[in-house]
Amino acid sequence: MTTASTPADVARAEKARATDGAPRTGSSLGYLRHAAGKVGGALVSLLAVLVTSFFLFRIIPGDPVKAMTHGVPTSAEQLATLRRQFGLDLPLWQQFTDYCAKALSGDLGTSFQFRAPVGDLIAEKLPATLLLTGVAVVIYSALGLWLGTRSAWRHGRLGDKLNTGIALTLWSVPSFWLGLILIIVFSVGMGPIPGLFPTGGMESGTGETGFAYALDVAHHLVLPVVTLVAVGYAQTLLVMRSSLLDEMGGDYLTTARAKGLRDDVVRRRHAVPNALLPTVTMIFINLGHVAAGSILVETVFSWPGLGGLFYQALSVPDLPLVQGLFVVFAGAMILMNLIADLLYPLLDPRVGR
């Protein structure tokens, strides 16, 4: 896994989040104030992202106009016309104010490479990324929660050690490498194993419709999703495990047992709901991460999504497209962080209610 940080960091950060900055007053007014603060903070972050994305990509070397007309004989006049057309002849500050004004009205500019509005290009590729990462996040969250609960409930036993061991090992594997190996084994075929799955892309392009098309896409989806799940589920597992371990010394569990509840019920009805909180917020943050995190898996499996588009745009450099994608990637993280922040006091009856 190549995003952000280690599971232990996240577990700790999530616990800090739980006690940090949550409203302490027991009224809904307190919650509203908390929410307003978080929304305000998110808006400031978004503005900062807009500014960064403009200046960050201006320092990429290379003349975009030259790259655009690469291989086509062009006169100096035509180059100048192109520059004017894309506003590249204006001073930097004027380009910046134009960019901000447009971005705030939802216009992200025109791609140099595809000569199409950036917004349209992103909208076209977004569903593929959402499908891939959405399916992967749902599966690895469920898997992580389930295995994490089992691990913590029987901690120290062989099952727990195997579980955490396997998860940590897979967490250390580079996702792009796992993808390549899966392609060799299951697509190209190795020894007795025939090529079971397609090597890349999202559809065979043979013009199926309806149910047959859905099956075809699902068939293409298997290997990329397996890659993302294998590398990603460790985080959910470890956070769930350590969060449940923290709950396990709780007096309320002793009380529940003393009432004569079965072990199974104690776990399901009492311990897990309390331990779930940090994990749920983490899942939202993961959702924000994956758009950017799937760049490699999309590249390896030639998945027609945002990650592949980003890499394509970076090599030109197609400034408006790179900027737009950067804003989308960072915006997704800000949005999901905001949802997690807003959700936390609502989910946890101990704070704010």
Partner: protein
């Protein structure tokens, strides 16, 4: 005074080791690290630096594993085993340097923000939070694209994008340390900001910083491999990520040359795993309440 401090420090290191020794996963990780570090350090004598040479390659292109080349050869006829051992050097070096840089920035920001407090701290933490929501990999890719292709670029790209988590943790720890009475005593005796930060806060956050660095190295090694795989590493140096990129370019995937692709990935995973195991063991020794190592 100094000798007393040294005695105490020696005592706490001994206590640390006694506790670390009981964690089997941590010991496996440590053993793995020592082995890999030895392999990397002795590489100039065991395989020699001419293993990288394209012009004087000993074998023919893309040979499968044999007695002469235990892991086969690449498209230039170089021994893959030799490249694998040589590649450990760059992966470990970049991982160490990048993690150190990232943790150093994080510690500095964290201690300063935690010590001074007030509006200054708020502003610094806002900036940190903003870095925290930035997609790290995207930012690192952009930085590596912008700057010239070299090992230092990769170190810098990883280091400056991954410090915010450390900064948050160190700030929290600094605030906890500074609320203790002995800090008040130090200030009352005339200790200035610098004295408090360097002599009292820093030694107290060091254990946390150590754990962060160990865990950070495995992330840094993975990111380095990722950047090299995307062709953003130093093209003149052999690295594990670069080997995977070469393998992909040589068509190892479509022709099913698994023996070319498998070893570098396994090597990356093993080193990253070893650092993670060590880091988790250190963490659970220092903070048993975390429940990580239980």
């Amino acid at each position: 005074m100094t000798s007393l401090a040294w005695e105490r420090r020696k005592g706490s290191v001994a206590r640390f080791w006694t506790s670390y020794r009981t964690r089997r996963a941590g010991l496996y990780g440590l053993a793995g690290l020592v082995l890999i570090a030895l392999l990397a350090l002795t590489a100039p004598w065991t395989v020699g630096s001419d293993v990288q040479s394209v012009t004087e390659a000993p074998g023919t292109a893309l040979e499968p594993p044999s007695a002469a080349f235990p892991l086969g050869t690449d498209q230039f006829g170089r021994s893959l085993l030799g490249l694998l051992i040589w590649g450990a050097r760059i992966s470990l070096l970049v991982g160490l340097l990048a993690a150190t840089l990232s943790v150093a920035i994080g510690t500095l920001v964290g201690i300063i923000a935690g010590h001074y407090g007030g509006w200054f701290s708020t502003v610094v933490m806002r900036i940190t939070d903003w870095f925290l929501v930035m997609p790290t990999l995207v930012l690192a890719i952009v930085l590596a694209t912008v700057m010239s292709r070299s090992m230092w670029t990769v170190v810098l790209a990883i280091g400056v994008t991954s410090w915010p988590t450390t900064a948050r943790l160190v700030r929290a720890q600094t605030i906890a340390v500074e609320s203790r009475p002995y800090i008040e005593r130090a200030t009352a005796l005339g200790g200035g900001h610098r004295h408090v930060m360097l002599r009292h806060v820093l030694p107290n956050v060091m254990p946390l910083v150590l754990a962060q660095t160990t865990l950070g190295i495995s992330t840094a090694i993975l990111t380095e491999a990722t950047l090299a795989f995307l062709g953003l590493g130093d093209p003149t140096v052999v690295s594990w990520g670069g080997m995977l990129q070469d393998a992909r370019e040589a068509g190892a995937v479509s022709s099913g040359h698994w023996w070319y692709l498998a070893p570098p990935g396994i090597a990356i995973a093993l080193v990253a795993l070893a650092f993670t195991l060590c880091g988790r063991a250190v963490e659970s020794v220092l903070n048993p309440k975390l429940g990580v190592g239980r």
